[in-house]
């Protein structure tokens, strides 16, 4: 199973990425199109492709908004839920976690309608107040609009991961700190956050990977606006090349590069995180 659905496809993708189609004559008839060795040509093409670079930059900008906001909110909500003086925690915990159950496509669709001036409640209110209505589906606001969908969908899940880790901290730790005269803020900053650091690392890591692979949300918003191109994110570009332009060789090279970037980032990050944990353990 593993070989069939993981090893083989990956190997095949790498093999494809090193080839291209050579068209002889008019490209008609059998034998006119043949696969030839391309070496690293697909890779150099990809790395110098302005669309690909543009997509990568767009996703970088998008990630710079999504990851800090989403994780910041998740940590904040988790700390608040963990505090014993807060009310309505079962309700709010469930409500904030709820978007996890909603498919990304449906989430993008819902927000898409909320952004659409014709049906949006925000536009309605702004119009009644006589204020200008920003077009959320164009230019700079589009980034925020897309980021908002990701934040909406991801905060709850990350919050639960952090919250579960907070729950695992023994009560005695807090009692000791309180006896030493620590304020709740100090407890949160000096004890809780360091103790859930591994969860923070994990959520950070998953968020980065999810960001690199953003596909569903911008694809879903496309029918509602002209501002999302078919190559908005790198993955959309891969899809476009593979199935829109029919150049699977190029697409395979692009996919391989994305995978490599992901792997390098994540393993590098994991190693760095491990080293820090070891250092702290040694102290």
């Amino acid at each position: 199973m593993f070989a069939l659905f993981f090893a083989l496809p990956i190997g095949y993708a790498v093999w494809l990425s090193l080839h291209k189609v050579h068209v002889s004559g008019l490209g008609l008839g059998s034998g006119a199109r043949e696969e030839v060795w391309a070496g690293l040509e697909n890779y150099t093409d990809t790395l110098t492709d302005s669309e690909m670079v543009g997509g990568a930059l767009r996703v970088l900008g998008y990630g710079c908004v999504v990851v800090p906001v989403m994780l910041g909110l998740a940590l904040l909500f988790a700390l608040m839920l963990d505090s014993d003086k807060v009310r309505f925690t079962p309700f709010t915990r469930l409500a904030i976690f709820l978007p996890y159950a909603i498919p990304g496509v449906v989430a993008a669709l819902l927000w898409g309608f909320l952004y659409l001036p014709d049906v949006s409640p925000f536009s309605y209110v702004l119009e009644k107040l006589g204020l200008p209505q920003p077009d959320l589906l164009d230019g700079g606001p589009l980034y925020l609009a897309l980021s908002n969908i990701a934040v909406w969908g991801g905060t709850g899940f990350n919050m639960i991961v952090i919250y579960t880790a907070l729950q695992a901290i023994p009560v005695e730790v807090y009692e000791a700190a309180r006896l030493d005269g620590a304020t709740p803020l100090q407890i949160a900053l000096r004890i809780k956050i360091p103790m859930v650091a591994p969860s923070l690392v994990l959520t950070f890591f998953f968020s980065i990977i999810a960001t690199l692979q953003v596909f569903n949300e911008p694809t879903t918003l496309r029918p509602l606006t002209n501002s999302v191109s078919t190559t908005w994110s790198p993955l959309m570009k891969v899809y476009q090349d593979a199935f829109g332009n029919g150049d699977i060789y190029r697409a395979a090279a692009e996919a391989t590069i994305i995978a490599l970037v992901t792997l390098v980032l994540s393993f590098g990050f994991l190693r760095a995180a491990n080293r820090r944990t070891k250092q702290e353990a040694a102290r």
Partner: protein, 301 residues
């Protein structure tokens, strides 16, 4: 909306009223965090509330009345949706249930088996296997999907139920969670004791280890179920016949057509509303059974 919630709450969270001064500490409601959490809940529930209300509006009401005012067209909307292409919507729902249900079940079985094997047996290449698995968790779905598509195309399986089902059976994340859970829940002593009593390996797995792993496997199943239900990319690549679409893809194509004909908006909205119901219901029923420790267990290892 979210950003205002943060800005107001962030500095105030720690300096909540009555927390800093004066022993003994009194039990009071921490107002600011409570309000912040409620704001967070409003934020997450807003689109859901919107779709519930919007689905009750007829086409003309959708564009003319205030968004959060209920309309009068819910029954008609459902009828329209039901009538759309001879009820293809229900086919999509059924397909999603099939993909997610069967896919998650098979994938849980595979995860349990391989997770248990990785946790219990020491064999050559075990660590390598595990690292490859980890890399599999991180692999972008599209790098697998393109060659999977081509391979399945060679086997003449694309645009079939199998093309969506098969690639999702082996889930690296499922195996990863199962391994961690098996390592924590099944003590080696018990496995050893089983061997001493002369039980075969298969018997030990099914009679001894599996019952111990059930709570964790429920989580893996639910995890997979949600993952398959929410999957968009794989069916998007594999399928072209909309009779086999899952609901995510179905709604997307509906939206694509609806973008040019606002008359279809009500269909998309009603469809989205109905599509959210089963998962939210499932979610509410099962959230108490989730062993979320498993997730944080994955963090600690």
């Amino acid at each position: 909306m979210s950003s205002t919630a943060v800005r107001e709450a962030a500095p105030a969270a720690g300096t909540a009223p009555g927390t800093a001064q004066g022993p003994p500490p009194r039990r009071r409601i921490a107002l600011v965090p409570t309000v912040a959490l409620l704001l967070g809940a409003v934020y997450t529930l807003l689109p859901v509330a919107w779709v519930v209300i919007a689905s009750t509006k007829s086409g003309s009401e959708l564009f003319s009345t205030f968004t959060f005012l209920p309309g009068s067209g819910f029954v008609d909307n459902v009828k329209d949706l039901d009538a759309y292409r001879d009820g293809v919507y229900w086919t999509w729902m059924g397909n999603s249930a099939l993909y997610a249900g069967l896919g998650a079940l098979l994938s849980t079985v595979v995860s349990a088996l391989s997770g248990y094997a990785l946790a219990t047996y020491r064999f050559r290449g075990r660590e390598t296997m595990f690292n490859v698995l980890l890399a599999g968790v991180l692999m972008p779905p599209i790098i697998l999907a393109i060659p999977q598509y081509l391979l399945l195309a060679k086997a003449d399986l694309t645009d079939s139920y199998l093309s969506v089902l098969l690639p999702q059976i082996l889930s690296p994340y499922g195996v990863y969670l199962a391994r961690i859970y098996a390592a924590a829940a099944v003590p080696t002593d018990v496995v050893e004791a089983g061997r001493m009593d002369g039980a075969g390996e298969w018997r030990i797995f099914t009679r001894v280890a599996l019952p111990m792993m059930v709570p964790g496997m429920v989580t893996v199943f639910l995890f997979q179920f949600v993952a398959v239900w929410n999957n968009f990319l794989l069916p998007y690549i594999m399928l072209s016949d909309d009779e086999r679409f899952p609901i995510t893809l179905g709604l997307y194509t509906l939206l694509e057509q609806g973008a040019n004909t606002p008359a279809l908006y009500t269909l998309v909205i009603t469809g989205a509303f109905l599509a959210v119901i089963p998962l939210v219901a499932l979610f509410l029923v099962i959230q108490r059974f989730w062993s979320l420790d498993l997730l944080s267990g994955a963090v600690k290892s």
